[in-house]
Symmetry: C2
Subunit: 142 residues, 2 copies
């Protein structure tokens, strides 16, 4: 039996519908931004809402300053022993005004804290998703 064997992987692109269903069924992802010319990643709670992805953060926070009117990537993933899936939204983040924020059904993500009153909407310009399946029957030597 080969010692460095790895299973073969089948990749499938998710449809837009599958991507949104995937996001709607979850509530915790990561957001990537460009900060001072370099990428940065922050885990964050979210909710799928009309128009895109809504997130909360503290007013005056460092993250808010980076996000406002900025190009962002938002990603959610999971994996188990057989399948790995990930969905990525690329878009623009903008802060909602008090009226729109008040109408928001965005849940208060627990780790955002009770003072996370700034609500942002990420408007997607692109959504992509992939599902990787391990084919245990075709384990082979590299």
């Amino acid at each position: 039996m080969p010692t460095a064997a790895a299973p073969s992987v089948t990749t499938r692109e998710l449809t837009d519908r599958e991507c949104w269903d995937y996001l709607a069924a979850r509530e915790y992802g990561r957001i990537a931004v460009i900060r001072d010319g370099e990428p940065a990643i922050y885990p964050i709670g979210y909710a799928v809402a009309p128009g895109g992805i809504r997130i909360r953060t503290r007013i005056g926070s460092k993250l808010l300053a980076i996000l406002i009117d900025g190009r962002v990537a938002f990603e959610v993933d999971d994996l188990d022993e057989h399948v790995a899936r990930s969905v990525m939204v690329v878009g623009w983040a903008e802060q909602l005004d008090a009226h729109d924020a008040a109408e928001s059904s965005t849940p208060v993500a627990p780790y955002a804290g009770a003072d996370a009153h700034a609500v942002l909407l990420i408007t997607p310009t692109r959504i992509t998703g992939r599902e990787l399946s391990l084919d245990a029957a075709t384990v082979r030597s590299p």
Copy 2:
């Protein structure tokens, strides 16, 4: 009982040692890069190795092209009902030559596939980590 209550959150910065211990105990994270001027996130298997973080991908892959000699952020996180933790490494990714790659103990991350022969080293220039704890005793109304 308030309907929009959220617990208060205590934030603690992790020490460098705690960050590395956290990374060494896990094997699955996300890498963020700047692609055509916008951020992008990819989930990826990894191993902590001397000098930084080692990852594998396919030779000739799109990800490899983006990563080589590029500024990257690498992040691992987890959360449960009480604590959320995340560690981020910012650094440079470079492809190891065949000799160094062969000496690598980097496991073949299953979802990288059997043909993931390109081994990259992310050399950290900065590592940061945070632990957020929910204080259930201080639940309050916003």
